[in-house]
């Protein structure tokens, strides 16, 4: 840890032993700081906003931290009343509670005289605010919406689809990298060729196929069509090419079946590439929007991404729920990435060979 910090805070220095920073240090840190702001700014803003009340979200100009107006419970009033500070007139500086507002005039009561209505112009008062996290944005997701169902749908699709995809892709890659057969190059070219066809072009035919197979409004309708990806086949094939054929020959001499060679030799040895593909697949599936939108139309089948979309109505958008759910949707993928990111670097680096 200490080493990491020392590494991260290294400076070029002036070279004369003094601790003063060289201009390149300033430049580097400035550049890196800009990068951090660009990358993390939106995410931090999102998290902050997800804790704001609807009123605060509609406030202009927007503020960074989540504020909420204070309120008091007074005798003779059933609901808590919002607190204001009077800014002008003879009452300037005192705190009053608003009972109701009529046009540009609000009816207030003093805290010590809850029955006596005072009329104050809207311009002449300021809300009393404090820092407050609007946790209800999150709790509402569970109370008012079936968040757990959406989470389950997304998780199920992501996990199953990733597993199927790894299995199918690695088997294809094994055949294409380790078996000599007629038309191997053609098959490979065809698979890579499909990379050049945009998803949107095949959308309608794919929909027709899925409908004919009765998979509309089923999670399998999302899982199956994405089971094989040309990128995955190509990535794994390139990696498997680096596994020496002699190891396979040795396994054959050891009376291993071809399946066993695949399962016990090829798969474990391709682990770095498979980890890379797994991370990519998880991200693809989790963030997938267009295809689930087409296949899944009933709310109980919605994935998180579809649920997020449904918050955004034609007339109004429930920003608070939308933001809270966006944060929750980001979390799993961020965790997966944090734990597996080292495999991405090593995996991609080692797909080039030894």
């Amino acid at each position: 840890m200490g080493k990491a910090i020392a590494f991260l805070t290294r400076t070029r220095g002036r070279g004369d032993g003094s601790q003063r920073l060289h201009w390149t240090d300033w430049f580097t840190y400035g550049y890196l700081f800009l990068g951090i702001v660009l990358m993390f700014g939106p995410v931090v803003w999102l998290v902050m906003s997800s804790f704001k009340t609807d009123a605060e979200l509609n406030n202009f100009p927007p503020r960074f931290l989540p504020y909420a107006q204070e309120s008091v419970v007074l005798d003779g009033h059933k609901k808590p009343l919002p607190l204001f500070t009077v800014t002008e007139g003879e009452l300037a500086g005192t705190q009053v509670a608003q009972v109701r507002r009529v046009g540009i005039v609000s009816q207030m009561v003093k805290l010590d005289a809850p029955d006596e209505i005072i009329k104050i112009k809207v311009k002449e008062r300021e809300p009393v605010e404090k820092l407050a996290l609007a946790w209800e944005n999150y709790t509402d997701l569970f109370k008012r919406f079936n968040f757990l169902q959406f989470l389950w749908n997304s998780t199920f699709i992501t996990i199953i689809s990733t597993l199927i995809m790894l299995l199918v892709n690695s088997m294809a890659a094994f055949a294409l990298s380790k078996y000599e057969f007629r038309g191997r190059t053609t098959v490979l070219a065809l698979i890579i060729g499909t990379l050049m066809i945009p998803q949107t072009v095949v959308l309608v035919p794919l929909f027709l196929v899925v409908r004919e197979m009765g998979m509309i409004n089923s999670l399998w309708g999302v899982i199956i069509p994405g089971a094989a990806t040309p990128t995955g086949v190509f990535l794994l094939r390139q990696y498997m090419l680096t596994i020496p054929d002699e190891i396979l020959d040795a396994a054959r001499m050891d009376k291993a079946s071809e399946w066993k060679i695949y399962w016990r030799i090829i798969l474990p040895l391709s682990a770095p590439a498979i980890a890379v593909l797994a991370i990519l697949a998880i991200m693809w599936r989790w963030n997938d929007f267009l295809w689930p939108l087409i296949v899944l139309s009933r709310t109980e089948n919605f994935t998180l991404q579809l649920a997020l979309n449904s918050f955004q109505g034609e007339m109004q958008t429930q920003w608070s729920s939308l933001l809270a759910m966006t944060v929750l949707t980001l979390l799993p993928i961020a965790v997966v990435f944090a734990f597996l990111q080292k495999y991405i670097a090593t995996g991609i680096a080692s797909t080039g060979g030894k």
Binding site: P244, D249, A250, R252, M253, D254, K255, A256, P268, L269
Partner: protein, 363 residues
């Protein structure tokens, strides 16, 4: 019992024929070495025997069973690869047990066999390590162990020592020879190193361009090479070749282009008068002689002093190089002209056109 018969084995990749009809018989318990320059097809031949490659034509028989269409695993062979081909993700123990598991050997028996093999090859303390944590020699032992543990009928070795350094190679050579003695199995060993072949083999098959040039015991090949290629390939340093012409077939007189005439034993060779021949003389069949008594006069252009013996690298007047092996030390220096006398009993003669040995077959 494990005899191996190859009958007219051919292998073609596309239109290129790499093995052009090989006939061989390796008897039970023999250590047979396939030796030849790179690209001669020796590894291909081994892979065909193993079943990893198919034959284009011909028959492979193991113990009189035709195994052409038998899968590699079912031929009862095991193979040690040039790169060792250990399973990198498995421990040494798993490497050894993998083949036995595939044969559905009971777990207890597997452990027992691994124990025996590990003790024999002295790799017991390595059993839980991964191949990447082993040195080259240790990997080699594990690779051999993996072959031994399955108790095959025939062992196949594909240049197993070529990745080791010179010293280790000599050690492993001795160990493999010992292993062969202990196990008594038939072994087939591929190498391009004729020293390995000479030191280990019961029988050597010298291959060139997909053809077995000669097949026999190491010293037979050394003393009675059937052609110039085998003569040049077997023996280190290489045999010297000097052009000559038969003066008299009856008296066995041959004149060397670079020297005087020699009188050989006429009844050992099939000679014709005035035939163009090549005399093959091993470096230890020549010795330094007085210039006026010398058969050949040469100029020294290289000296190697190894202490116990010395090598002179010399050139004759017509440009043929002659290597001379001298026991002990020598005082010759580069640039000197020296005379050489030839031990006529050890001279080989080859037809200059065909390269075929002119020595008569012994009865």
């Amino acid at each position: 019992m494990a005899n191996l018969h190859l009958q007219d084995i051919k292998k073609a990749f596309g239109s290129i024929e790499v093995i052009k009809g090989v006939n061989l018989t390796v008897n039970h318990g023999e250590f047979c070495v396939f030796v030849g320059p790179s690209g001669c097809g020796k590894s291909t031949l081994l892979r065909m025997i193993s079943g990893l490659d198919t034959v284009s034509s011909g028959r492979i028989m193991i113990d009189d069973d035709l195994v052409n269409d038998v899968a590699a695993a079912d031929r009862g062979l095991s193979m040690v690869f040039q790169s060792y081909a250990l399973y990198p993700h498995m421990s040494v123990r798993q490497n050894l047990s993998f083949g036995l598991e595939n044969l559905n050997t009971p777990r207890k028996l597997i452990q027992q066999k691994i124990g025996e093999v590990a003790a024999m090859l002295q790799i017991e303390e390595l059993l839980d390590r991964k191949p990447k944590d082993l040195s080259g020699g240790q990997r080699q032992r594990v690779a051999i162990g993996r072959a031994v543990v399955r108790e095959p009928r025939i062992f196949l070795f594909d240049e197993p020592l070529s990745n080791l350094d010179a010293e280790l190679r000599v050690d492993m050579r001795a160990e493999i020879a010992q292993l062969h003695k202990r196990l008594g199995n038939t072994m087939i060993y591929v190498t391009h190193d004729q020293v390995e072949a000479m030191t280990m083999a019961d029988k050597i098959a010298v291959l060139r361009a997909g053809v077995v040039e000669q097949f026999g015991a190491p010293l037979d090949l050394y003393h009675y090479p059937v052609n110039r290629f085998v003569a040049g390939f077997i023996g280190s340093p290489k045999m010297n070749f000097l052009n000559g012409q038969v003066v008299s077939a009856v008296r066995g007189e041959v004149s060397l282009a670079a020297g005087r005439g020699m009188a050989l034993q006429a009844d050992s060779f099939d000679l014709a008068d005035n035939a163009e021949v090549v005399a093959g003389i091993r470096p230890n069949a020549v010795s330094i002689a007085e210039l006026n008594e010398a058969d050949v006069t040469v100029e020294v252009h290289g000296v190697e002093r190894l202490g116990g013996e010395s090598y002179l690298y010399t050139r004759t007047s017509d440009g043929s190089s002659v290597t001379v092996n001298i026991q002990g030390e020598t005082s010759q220096e580069i640039g000197q002209t020296v005379g050489l006398s030839v031990d006529v009993d050890k001279v080989h003669l080859f037809d200059r056109e065909t390269g075929i040995s002119l020595r008569r077959q012994q009865a």
